[in-house]
């Protein structure tokens, strides 16, 4: 699933490890989400949205092919 996580993270001047610490996940998980290789659970998606103060739909882009 496409997402804007990398873009939002850089806007907030966070590195992957810092974001991972804030969300309680590993740096590898952040890397996988940013590359679109891993889709987070709904709970993690909500946590990500809360960190960036946005809606889930503003961060994760759902396509019919997903």
């Amino acid at each position: 699933m496409e997402n804007k996580l990398e873009e939002l993270r850089k806007q907030k001047n966070l590195n992957q490890e810092e974001l991972g610490d804030m969300l309680g996940v590993s740096r590898q998980t952040i890397i996988s989400i940013e590359k679109g290789k891993y889709n987070p659970s709904i709970i993690l998606a909500f946590k990500i949205a809360k960190v960036f103060n946005k809606n889930i739909e503003d961060i994760f882009i759902y396509n019919d092919e997903d």
Binding site: G20, D21, G24, V25, S32
Partner: protein, 146 residues
């Protein structure tokens, strides 16, 4: 969020203390088994089993003791333990291993039966069928519960 993190690290510390205690018990059981082996049983297989327990206990003890003493390692360990992707990968690896192992056990059971190694074949059949029965029980239990 910081309060939640502290709570999680505390519960991880409690879990680590239990693991350290268990590793000490494993080491002790290994030492007792080794002493029994030296003075009574005198069997190489039992000696290997006892040595394995001692080494396992020592490795577990040192690993988890280092983690509990270092804030940096404790934080990394807490995150790694609860990381959803790690859990997903571990679960996936587990069920692929289960299917593969069950298939191999079934094939080997037939091979050993043909080769007239009946005891080995029967044990493998038992393990294979036991695994499948346990899987079915757990599947229907979780399906009913969740």
């Amino acid at each position: 969020m910081d309060e939640n993190k502290n709570k999680k690290e505390m519960s991880t510390k409690d879990m680590l203390k239990k693991i350290i205690l268990k590793s000490a018990i494993i080491m002790l059981v290994g030492v007792i088994a080794e002493v029994i082996n030296i003075f009574t049983i005198k069997n190489a297989y039992f000696d290997g089993f006892a040595s394995t327990l001692i080494v396992l206990g020592i490795v577990m003890f040192i690993k988890h003791f280092r983690i509990i003493k270092s804030e940096r390692l404790l934080k990394k360990y807490t995150i790694a333990r609860q990381d959803e992707r790690n859990i997903s990968i571990s679960t996936k690896a587990g069920y692929i291993t289960f299917y593969f192992a069950t298939f191999v056990e079934a094939i080997l059971s037939i091979v050993f039966q043909i080769r007239e190694y009946y005891l080995v074949s029967n044990v493998l059949s038992l393990v294979c069928c036991g695994s499948l029965i346990l899987y079915l029980i757990l599947y229907f239990t979780f399906r009913h519960r969740d």
